[in-house]
Symmetry: C2
Subunit: 454 residues, 2 copies
C-alpha cells in the first residue's frame, strides 16, 4: 500500500515549524495565482533585495573555477581576491570538489580561532571549532548529544526560534520553557530561569541544557555582560550545558548596546565548569548568505571525547558543504584596511548595516503608532515581535492568515514562537526594502483596525 | 562540570561509522608525522586526482559572481556556460544567496523530472523530488520518517554502507540485516530476504522498509531488472517501503551490465502499492563533486501528506545548500551534442569513466592474484571488498591497522560494513591514480604474506 501520514513516525508528525508552516505555504499558493506577496516570514535578506558582498563572491568564483586565476580574466578580479582564492586552493589542494575533514577545513577553523581572538581578546582551540551547514545543523548536533529521551529537558526562551522546539520534539526530548519579560524589553531574569527549572525538576525532568539566543530571535533583545554572567552562574548551579545562539552578533542597532559573547564572559570569569556551545552563521549579520549554508560551532569546557562524538555525527553525513565553509572563511577573515578590496567591502558592509538599522527603526516606529499594537524597541537581530490586541476568541494564527489573504503580507503567528498564554503576537522581519516597509505599515494599520473591529 | 563522554546520549555513543573511524584518524595522525598515506578509505575522487568538469565549474563561477557575465571576462566562458548561468539566475532571481524553497529550486526539480524521463522513459512529479545536501541527508530524512523506536526495523544489506547502520542506530531503530551471497558475486536472493524478514518478525520487530544499494557499496554488484522486480515483489508482500540508493548509477563497468532504476521497474510493472524512495548524488558517477553536497530524493506511491512531512524536516534546517543544488542541475541537465561545451564535457566524462573502469579492472586482477585474498569482479561503484584469509584469532580491524602502520595504505575493515560471521574483508576504493594502484597491489601482496605468516 502507498505510504500514508499515519505511517509516519510520531515525533515527526508532532514537530511544528511555523517559519515555513501553513501560512507560508498559503502565501506561495497565492503567489502562484498571481498575487503580490511581501515575505516578512523569514530572515532571508537577499530574497528582499540585499546584494551579496563583492569580495566574497569574487573569491567564490575563483575557487569554483581556478582557471580564472591564470587566464586573461584574472584582471577582472582585485589582487587580494585572487590572493585569497590562491590561499584557499593551497590550503585545500583539492579545491571545493572533495569531502573536507568532517570538522571542516582546518584553515577555516584556524581563521575562526583568530576571529574569536580579535573579537573577544580570548584564545580558542581549532579542535573545538566545527564547520556546519548553517548554525541550525550545529544546534541540532549538540541537541542530539544531550537528548536521549522524554526525561531529558532543554530550557528554551519563550518566545524562541522554532529550530529549538522542533529539534527537541524530533529528538523525543522535553522543552522546558523560560519566559522573557515583554514589559522589560524582553529581558532575561534569574527568577524566570529558576522558576522554569524548578517546575521541570518537579515533573521529573532531567534538565540538561539551556538555549539562549543573543541578540534575540524573535525579540531582538541584546544581553549585556551582567545578563550573560547571570545565565552562566545559573547554568553552573544546575549543571547545565549552554547553547549560545549568536548568529545575530553583528545585528546590534542601538549605540548604547554591544554584543557580548558567552565565550568572552566564560573566559574572563575563569568559568571552567559550564559546558558552552556557541553558534555562528553566514546567513545573518551583514553577509545574509542564507543559501550557502555556512556556519560554525565552538565548544568550551567540553571533553575532547565528546567533540569526537560530534565529529562522528558530522561524519555520518560526511562534512558541511565546501562552498559554505569558504563563505565562513571570508566572514571571519575579511579584507583589512590597506587591502585593495577593503574600501568597497567596508562601504558595502556599512550600507547594509545602516539600511538594516534604518528599517528596524522605521518599522518599530510605524508598528508602535498603530492603535492596538505594542512593539518593543528593535535593538538587535532582524525581526519585530509586536503584541496585538485581539477580539475575544480570535487567535494570532487567524490574524496572520487574514492579513495574508487581505494584504499579501506574510508574517508568522506568535504561537509559532511561544508566548505568555492569553497574549498574541506576530513576527515580521525588518527586511523589506524601505518603500515596502512603508507599505507594510500602512496596510497593517488598516488591516488591524478592520480585523479588530470585525 | 565539563561535559564528559558519559553525559552523551546513548544512541550517539553506540553509533559506529567506520569509513571515517579510528583507522582513518590514525592515518591522519601518521600523515601529520610526515608519513605518506594512500587514502583508500572513502569514495572521494577529487582528493585522489580526479579533476572537476570544466563546464560545471564555469557555470558555478558565473552564478557566484554574475558580474562576470557582463564584463570583459565574459569571453573566458563558452556561450552555453553563460546561457546556463543566466538561466539559473533568471529562475532564481536571488542567485545563490537566498534560502531556496525547502524542497529545493523548482527549476532544478523540474530538470530532475526531465532527467528521469530521458533515463527511464517514465514520467516523474517535481512535487515528489526533493533536493538534498548529498544523498546521505535524503536517506536520513526518510529513515527518520519510518523509524519511531526499537520495534521499527529497517532491512539493510550485509555488507552495507554504514550510513544505514549508523542512521538507524541514531534513530533508535533496529537493523534487520539480509545477507548478499559472496559466492555468487554478492547477488541478492529472495530466500535471503525472506529468512531475514522472518527472523525479525519472530523477534517482534515491525519491519518498515528495506534499503538496497544498486550498484552495491561496498560490493559493486549491479542488479538486473529481474532482481529489482523480485525485491519490489518482496516489499509488496511484506508492506515495506523501499529505499533505493542509486548514487553509483553511472559507475557500471562491464559491457553486459546496465543500470536499472527501481522507479523504471515500478512504473513498467504498474506497481502502485510499494512506496519507493530513490536517491542520487553529485558525489559519485563522473562528477565526484563530494565537497558540494548535492543530491536528490524522489518518491513514488507516497502520499503528498507524507512528503509534506519530509518538507517539514528539511525546513527545520531551511534548505539544501544552493551551490550543491546547482551542481545537481548541471548533472541532470548537461551540455547536449551541438552545444559549444559538449565536446569538452563529453571527453572529460569519457576519460573519467575509462580511467575508473581501468583502475577497477586492474585492482580486481591484482587483488585476486594475491594468495589468501579472493575478490569478486568489480562490476560497479567505486570499491573492492575482497575477502581475506586470516590466522585464527586475528580480525580484519587488526589487519587494516597493521596495513596502515606498515604500508601507509588506509582501508576500512569489513566489520564496518558487516559480513558473514567468521569471514573477513576490507573495503578499498578503486580511486588511487594508476601508479598508486600498482603500489597498493604490490605493498598489499607483501603485507598479506607477512601478516598471515606471523
Amino acid at each position: 500500500m502507498p505510504l500514508h501520514l499515519a505511517d509516519v513516525a510520531r515525533g515527526v508528525r508532532e514537530t511544528q515549524y511555523a517559519v515555513r508552516g501553513p501560512i507560508v505555504a498559503r502565501a506561495a499558493e497565492l503567489e502562484r495565482q498571481g498575487r503580490r506577496i511581501i515575505y516578512c516570514n523569514i530572515g532571508n535578506p537577499q530574497s528582499l533585495g540585499q546584494r551579496p558582498l563583492t569580495f566574497l563572491r569574487q573569491v567564490l568564483a575563483l575557487a569554483e573555477w581556478p582557471a580564472l586565476l591564470d587566464g586573461p580574466a584574472a584582471s577582472a578580479f582585485p589582487e587580494d581576491a585572487r590572493a585569497a582564492a590562491r590561499r584557499a586552493l593551497t590550503e585545500s589542494p583539492y579545491g571545493l570538489g572533495a569531502y573536507t575533514e568532517s570538522k571542516g577545513f582546518r584553515f577555516v577553523r584556524d581563521a575562526v580561532v583568530e576571529f574569536i581572538r580579535r573579537r573577544d581578546g580570548i584564545p580558542a582551540d581549532a579542535e573545538h571549532v566545527f564547520l556546519t551547514d548553517g548554525a541550525s545543523k550545529g544546534v541540532q548536533s549538540v541537541l542530539r548529544l544531550l537528548v536521549d529521551g522524554p526525561a531529558d529537558g532543554v530550557m528554551i526562551p519563550i518566545p524562541q526560534y522554532p529550530l529549538y522546539s522542533a529539534s527537541i520534539t524530533l529528538l523525543g526530548g522535553t522543552q522546558v520553557p523560560y519566559y522573557l519579560d515583554e514589559a522589560r524589553e524582553w529581558s532575561l531574569s534569574r527568577e524566570a530561569l529558576e522558576t522554569a527549572h524548578a517546575q521541570a525538576v518537579a515533573k521529573g525532568i532531567r534538565v540538561r541544557a539551556i538555549a539562549v539566543i543573543n541578540p534575540g530571535n524573535p525579540t531582538g533583545a541584546v544581553l549585556d555582560a551582567a545578563n550573560v554572567e547571570m545565565l552562566l552562574d545559573f547554568a553552573r548551579k544546575h549543571s547545565l550545558a549552554v547553547l549560545a545562539d549568536e548568529v545575530y552578533q553583528e545585528n546590534v542597532y542601538r549605540p548604547q548596546d554591544r554584543f557580548v559573547s558567552f565565550a568572552s564572559v566564560l573566559v574572563r570569569r575563569g568559568i571552567d565548569d559550564v559546558p558552552l556551545f556557541s553558534f555562528h552563521s553566514v546567513s545573518k549579520g551583514l553577509f545574509g548568505e542564507c543559501g550557502h549554508r555556512g556556519g560554525y560551532l565552538e565548544s568550551r569546557n567540553v571533553h575532547p571525547e565528546v567533540m569526537a562524538e560530534v565529529e562522528k555525527l558530522q561524519s555520518v553525513a560526511l562534512c558541511a558543504n565546501s562552498a559554505g565553509q569558504l563563505v565562513t572563511w571570508v566572514m571571519v577573515n575579511p579584507p583589512r584596511p590597506g587591502d585593495p578590496s577593503f574600501p568597497l567591502y567596508d562601504r558595502e558592509c556599512k550600507e547594509i548595516f545602516e539600511s538594516l538599522r534604518r528599517r528596524a527603526a522605521r518599522l518599530q516606529q510605524g508598528l508602535s503608532a498603530i492603535p492596538g499594537i505594542q512593539c518593543n524597541g528593535l535593538t538587535g537581530a532582524m525581526y519585530a515581535f509586536p503584541r496585538i490586541q485581539l477580539p475575544p476568541g480570535r487567535t494570532d494564527a487567524q490574524y496572520c492568515l487574514a492579513l495574508l489573504e487581505e494584504t499579501g503580507i506574510c508574517v508568522v503567528p506568535g504561537s509559532g514562537f511561544g508566548q505568555l498564554p492569553g497574549t498574541f503576537h506576530f513576527r515580521t522581519t525588518i527586511l523589506p526594502p524601505d518603500d515596502e516597509i512603508e507599505l507594510v505599515i500602512e496596510k497593517l494599520s488598516a488591516f488591524h483596525a478592520s480585523f479588530t473591529r470585525a
